[in-house]
Subunit: 149 residues, 2 copies
Amino acid sequence: MTTRNVEDYLEVIWDLQDEKGYIKAKDIAYKLEVTRPSVSEMIRKLSENGYIVYEKYGGIIFTGKGKKLAQEIKKRHTLLVEFLKIIGVDEQNAQQDACKLEHDISPKTINCLLEFVEFINLLPESFKWRENFKKYLEERGLLHKERKK
Amino acid sequence: MTTRNVEDYLEVIWDLQDEKGYIKAKDIAYKLEVTRPSVSEMIRKLSENGYIVYEKYGGIIFTGKGKKLAQEIKKRHTLLVEFLKIIGVDEQNAQQDACKLEHDISPKTINCLLEFVEFINLLPESFKWRENFKKYLEERGLLHKERKK
DNA sequence: TACTTTTATTAGGTATTCCTAACTATCTAA
DNA sequence: TTAGATAGTTAGGAATACCTAATAAAAGTA
């Protein structure tokens, strides 16, 4: 089974490949806030389970299986961030929450979320969804302030 | 720290109290799909950490701390289910997903979700949000079918 | 090229959470 | 009231994922 952790490591490795063009255990450790021995261990595990090809002190490359999973997680992540931003979560919190939620969301729900986001994005300007929502939030904000007085 | 597991157990214990009026290790085990020894162990732990009061072979009661946490998780769960249903996830899947997502969602995001759900529920009938969304989904359904041909 | 710094691995240990098997307490019904 | 069924606990162990300390390889520099 692909644990939450396998997914986290694959995602970070994917990002590093994307950002830097190469992958160092040191950078994985930094991004995941774990120690290098923990990374060594997981790299061995990922290699054993056929997600990556790896030789000691060498480079990491994805297998087909690893690439597929990494991309899928990335897709879930991106979708979650997009959705969270729509409902008013700021970029940073959206990123953080997406990192956790992406492991536990079922394919069915991902699909509903995708359709929802697409629907929202397709709404005609006259609908002014975002504006209405913002206005609603502002009104609530005012209400809260008044209550406190 | 309150782990994901502590939260799961507290939530199930809360539900049992609610549904049956009493709590049996057997029922907890059944609901969480674990064995009774696992439940015994966690009950000891919850007791040690002051979430419940418990004596061997006796009953379980929440402490203030335990009750507060259980209620909070329950609230997150209910909100998530409501939201998931809005975007078209069926009851059963919504329940399942909520059980997992409820552990990883930040307070800020919970708040945004709450405001979003409230906003949707307050929309005037003329907006017909749900109807428009349903229609959109149906149209997409048709498109998918046609593509497959 | 040899020395130093950086990077990665191994060894040994901890914590969490789960399991099976064996045992003990409690309840129930004859 | 006592024997069998049911429920709960303990003992011992496995898997996952993390850690620190020590070691080994690779890279960079004088």
